[in-house]
């Protein structure tokens, strides 16, 4: 599998190694998640499929884990979110770097933070002192 860079093609980019399971940071340096899956599109006319997006979030991870653990994961997720959640798409055009970690050239889309925002607003943020960082004692 190669990234569509047909004329030059210096060396094949091994997606599984270079992109999959890498940490993603957005333009603000926030931890977005890991590259849980990769979206390939093929319109039938091009010579080969094209990488169009990186997918992240639990809905993308489940199907990738084969066998029993994966089925368990998917079942758990269906229970938690019955409305068949879609994984978060990060279009490939917005990726500034792949290694050593994936960096996006813009802030991540809001749906990435759904769980994080909910937890902040309803649980963690309500505890006194949640907004204060440690000075690390140095």
């Amino acid at each position: 599998m190669t990234v569509p860079d047909d004329d030059a093609r210096p060396e094949p980019m091994r997606l599984g190694f270079t992109a999959l399971d890498r940490q993603i940071y957005d333009a603000d340096g926030r931890s977005v998640g890991k590259v849980d899956d990769i979206e390939l599109s093929w319109d039938g006319t091009a010579a080969r499929p094209v990488v169009t997006a990186l997918l992240t979030g639990g809905a993308a991870l489940g199907p990738r884990i084969a066998g029993r653990p994966g089925r368990l994961w998917a079942a758990l997720l269906r229970r938690l979110r019955p409305d068949a959640p879609e994984p978060v798409r990060l279009p490939i055009g917005g990726v500034a770097a792949f290694r050593p970690a994936v960096r996006l050239s813009s802030p991540a889309p809001a749906e990435v933070w759904a769980v994080e925002d909910w937890l902040r607003d309803h649980v963690i943020g309500r505890v006194p002192g949640a907004g204060r960082a440690d000075d690390n004692g140095r």
């Binding site: 599984g16 999959l20 399971d21 890498r22 940490q23 993603i24 926030r30 931890s31 977005v32 998640g33 890991k34 849980d36 992240t56 991870l61 990738r64 884990i65 084969a66 066998g67 653990p69 994966g70 290694r99 050593p100 769980v115 994080e116 937890l119 902040r120 649980v123 963690i124 943020g125 505890v127 002192g129 949640a130 907004g131 204060r132 960082a133 440690d134 000075d135 690390n136 004692g137 140095r138």
Partner: protein, 409 residues
């Protein structure tokens, strides 16, 4: 002068931080039952934990990322998940054991039943994780843990026959009346107690939290290379105390009060107070580390924001996992399981799961992508591979041995 102070603080913290409820229970129990015949396991475990702590500290300092942050990148989603689940369960069990240990220490000091202390301890652990700055947290409990030196003083004050202790240590075989299988089972317990996975998990993440760079590498190495062996000596002193006092009388260690009894017998009330402070600090510090390790592991696998140094509101998922872990461990201990039994199972099971922690570290520490020319030397790799083989053997034989010996009966 400041550097000297910082350095001293570092390795003193490492000594106190090395010991936890697992070391206290395993070494005392083994000393009482098998004398010094299992003393050789302690240095084997100490060298192992030094080796892998140094590697994960190096990965943290050079790449700025915690070892388990990199495990999923290197091993893939599925292997990473299996690894995460196993180490999370072990860490949870360890956390439960440590909370039980703190509660038992408080029971010894106050005569209030330990189950009443458990919720108090859980709240205290959470408050410290929530509020106390990182370096304060490490230094406070590490330094207070030094009170466990009382075990070494007590051993000396008991005036043992040093020659007999030494010859016991040099004759690695079960004493008369004990089976080889039980002897090996407890060898695994002592080994597992010295090499507990959460220590390494915590160590590498704390390096990232404290913002280590390649310049901090020498200091972190010295802390490990001086602090851990001295911690190992204390572990031997605990074993020695039990061997001197309990083995001739045929007493079996089944409660924390028996672990501290040699100190009380040798040094009186003052000694008991000092050693209880040490036990409290060591187990409390380990509870903090284990709770954080649980949160680190999960957050790093999924790529969430994590860290004790940042404001909790900016890492809500990490703090939610941490809180859940703490509640689960507390609930486990509140079922009125015997904390000492939980400790025994946690160290033996962590011995069985050791390859899951140590294989990825070895793989990542050889990756030039992350470490450049700071990858393992050939010597480190040979030694680490030998340990990996050892740990694999241990992991294969642990569960059958546990069943066969009925958990060391």
């Amino acid at each position: 002068m400041r550097r000297l102070l910082g350095f001293t603080l570092g390795f003193l913290t490492a000594i106190g931080g090395f010991l936890d409820i697992g070391d206290l229970v395993a070494n005392s129990l083994v000393g009482a039952r098998f004398g010094m015949s299992l003393a050789w396991v302690v240095p084997v475990g100490v060298v192992g934990v030094m080796l892998f702590s140094e590697m994960s500290g190096r990965v943290a300092a050079v790449s700025g990322r915690a070892t388990f942050d990199l495990v999923r990148e290197r091993m893939g989603a599925r292997a990473g998940l299996v690894n995460l689940l196993a180490s999370y369960v072990i860490t949870l069990l360890t956390l439960a054991a440590e909370i039980g240990g703190v509660a038992l220490a408080l029971e010894l000091a106050s005569s209030v039943h330990h189950l009443l202390w458990v919720p108090v301890v859980a709240v205290l652990v959470w408050v410290v994780v929530w509020r106390l700055p990182f370096s304060w947290m490490e230094q406070t409990y590490g330094l207070l843990g030094l009170a466990l030196v009382a075990f070494a003083v007590a051993l000396w004050a008991l005036g043992p026959d040093w020659g007999a202790l030494l010859s016991g240590a040099l004759h690695p075989a079960p004493p008369p009346g004990e089976a080889w299988s039980a002897w090996w089972y407890y060898a695994i317990a002592v080994f597992g107690a010295a090499m507990t996975p959460y220590t390494v998990l915590f160590f590498s993440s704390s390096g990232v939290e404290e913002g280590w760079t390649a310049r901090d590498l020498a200091r972190s190495r010295l802390n490990v290379f001086i602090g851990f062996p001295l911690g190992g000596l204390l572990a031997l002193a605990i074993m020695g105390c039990a061997a001197v006092l309990f083995q001739p009388a045929g007493v079996r260690v089944e409660h924390l009060s028996q672990v501290t009894l040699p100190v009380a017998a040798a040094l009186g009330r003052i000694g008991l107070v000092v050693v209880l402070v040490g036990v409290f600090a060591a187990t409390f510090g380990a509870a903090l580390e284990a709770a954080l390790a649980g949160g680190y592991g999960v957050a790093q696998y999924f790529g969430w924001a994590w860290g004790k140094n940042r404001a909790p509101a900016s890492a809500p998922r990490f703090h939610a996992v941490l809180l859940t872990t703490l509640l689960l461990a507390t609930a486990l201990i509140l079922t009125s399981l015997d904390p000492i039994a939980v400790t025994e199972y946690s160290i033996v099971l962590s011995a069985a799961a050791l390859p899951l922690t140590y294989l990825p570290i070895l793989v990542v520490a050889n990756d030039r992508d992350y470490l450049g020319d700071r990858v393992n030397s050939r010597f480190t790799n040979i030694l680490a591979t030998a340990y990996l083989a050892l740990v694999l053997v241990v992991s294969v034989v642990t569960i059958p041995l546990m069943v066969y010996t009925k958990a060391g009966q």
